[in-house]
């Protein structure tokens, strides 16, 4: 069972990453070439050279894409790595399901 759970979690993270990449491809200030080989460890600010103001736009687009709504505190606390935003999406989705 735990293997299946791990597999499901891994797939879910991969799907979210794919969705996130779709969002990032619409952000004109991110060089598309830098999106090749993005992993969960990729840092928006240092690796993708994303202007910090753009993270707010990315967050809004992610909410729209995944049909979720972040609390302002969630965004304030969010780190700048891809895995941070994936963690946040999963957390907010679960929070929504529990409600």
């Amino acid at each position: 069972m735990s293997n299946l759970k791990n597999y499901k979690q891994k797939m879910e993270r991969q799907e979210i990453l794919d969705g996130l990449l779709e969002v990032l491809r619409t952000v004109r200030t991110i060089d598309p070439a830098r999106l090749e080989g993005v992993t969960e460890e990729t840092d928006f600010l240092t690796d993708l050279s994303t202007p910090s103001t753009e993270l707010i736009n990315i967050a809004a687009k992610v909410e729209h894409k995944f049909d979720i709504e972040f609390e302002d505190d969630d965004i304030d606390r969010m780190g700048s790595k891809v895995k941070d935003i994936i963690d946040l999406i999963i957390m907010v989705k679960e929070r929504g399901e529990n409600q």
Binding site: T26, R28, T29, P51, E54, I56, N57, A59, A60
Partner: protein, 449 residues
């Protein structure tokens, strides 16, 4: 104050012009007596709510741009793609439509001026560019989603402020060109375009800067248009090309248009020393206020004082007066009579470029200064298109016992008001623009001879 002997040259120009791919086409269309006013499909979509549907508007495509529509909000340009690769995406992300035009006009002006990168990026190079309205297209969406839809403030995106703030055009130009001098905006309603150039002229004339990018902008926005439509002061009942008709007896309002005019200014001796092509020399700039407490009604006395300030030395007589000439009933007649009062009944001609492209609001004064420079270059006077019939009767206000101006009707000055472009030796052009609040501005610009 003014530094003796210091003069200001205009060494570059560019911008955004309705129904034109660039300055060359604008030049050609103007001097072949064409109108750039069209039926505006976007206004027609709201024809039940709107009174006027003609405009000298400019589309994204005409400027080589493509809007990126936001996925979250409908019909909202999140940013623009420059299909011709002139402006980096980072700069586009902080710009509304008008700011994009301002950056393109600034690039063209600097290129025409022939400034080196070092000169452009100097502490001695300033940017003085503004617009008449706020970033209305951007603000509408931000406010709608917050107030009507109850969404979080951040849903409108992180660029609401930089894309709508009052001096957004100047800020975007400075960030693009990396200038290190003064960067600010002058805002004076429909006198904005000339006011910014006038302020930049003073910065150079007073020895504070050696070079400046200056001008005015009004980006295409129905949000801006409807404010004037609601005042019921826009032209109605004519075909698009005949809608803007300064001085004509049947004029009934102005055509609300959009555009950008940017010029490069340089201290005259510096420009001369490096062999720059001097398009024109600014002889004088003067501005004042009516002081009669009226927000809208033009003031003959205010315009008389304007002319006095513009021509302290009576040697500076213009060959052409580039009129504000909006096609509104009272404004045009007061203006024409104040010019006659200042200059007499002959020896000059009137030109009303708004007859060809409408009223570009914050962009009007600077785009019309560019038309004055084109008149100097081409040695041709631009027409007052559609000025078919001038009033043979005196105006109502001329019958008032308080009236101190000319007592002849407008028709007595037909010989000053050309209906077609024509050749003439032009050494000096006076440019006039006025704005709500009773603000008046005037600039005299000469050929470098």
């Amino acid at each position: 104050m003014q530094v003796a002997g210091r003069k200001v040259a205009i060494v570059g120009m560019g911008g955004a012009f309705p129904a034109c791919s660039g300055l060359d086409e604008f030049n050609h269309k103007l001097f072949t007596n064409q109108s750039l006013v069209r039926e505006w499909d976007l206004a027609v979509q709201y024809s039940k709510q709107i009174r006027s549907t003609v405009s000298g508007y400019i589309t994204e495509e005409e400027m080589g741009l493509e809007a990126v529509w936001a996925p979250i909000t409908e019909k909202y340009p999140e940013t623009y793609i420059d299909k011709l690769g002139r402006i980096p995406d980072g700069n586009l992300s902080t710009a509304d439509m008008g700011s994009v035009w301002a950056m393109l006009g600034a690039q063209e002006s600097v290129k025409m001026a022939g400034w080196t990168e070092k000169e452009t990026q100097s502490e001695q190079t300033g940017v003085v560019v503004g617009s008449g309205g706020a970033g209305n297209q951007i603000l509408r969406v931000a406010w709608h989603y917050f107030f009507q839809m109850g969404k979080k403030a951040r849903i409108a995106g992180a660029h609401t402020v930089d894309r709508s703030m009052s001096y957004r055009e100047a800020a975007n130009i400075s960030c693009l060109l990396k200038t290190k001098g003064v960067c600010e905006s002058i805002t004076s309603a429909c006198a904005t375009g000339l006011g910014n150039i006038g302020h930049a002229y003073r910065l150079i004339k007073f020895g504070l800067q050696d070079r400046a990018i200056a001008g005015g902008v009004e980006g295409t926005a129905l949000e801006t248009f409807i404010g004037f439509d609601g005042m019921m002061i826009l032209s109605k009942g004519f075909s698009p090309a005949e809608s803007s008709r300064p001085f004509d007896i049947n004029r009934n309002g102005f055509v609300c248009s959009f555009g950008a005019g940017i010029v490069a200014l340089e201290e005259y001796e510096m420009a001369k020393a490096r062999g720059a092509n001097i398009i024109g020399v600014i002889d004088e700039y003067f501005n004042n206020s009516d002081g009669d407490g009226d927000m809208f009604y033009p003031s003959f006395a205010g315009q008389q004082r304007l002319w006095k300030g513009l021509m302290p030395d009576k040697g500076l007589r213009p060959d052409v007066v580039k009129m504000h000439g909006t096609s509104t009933p009272v404004g045009d007649s007061v203006e024409l009579l104040s010019v006659v009062d200042a200059l007499g009944e002959e020896g000059f001609h009137l030109s009303a470029p708004k007859s060809q492209f409408g009223h570009m609001l914050g962009g009007a004064g600077s785009v019309e200064l560019i038309t004055a420079l084109l008149m100097l270059q081409n040695q041709k006077v631009l027409p007052c298109l559609n000025s078919d019939t001038l009033n043979p009767e005196v105006e109502g206000f001329q019958k008032s016992p308080d009236w101190t101006g000319p007592d002849k009707p407008l028709a007595a000055y037909r010989h000053l008001v050309p209906q077609q472009a024509f050749e003439k030796e032009i050494n000096r052009v006076a440019c006039l623009n006025y704005g709500f609040g009773g603000t008046n501005s005037a600039m005299m610009v000469s050929r470098d001879i």
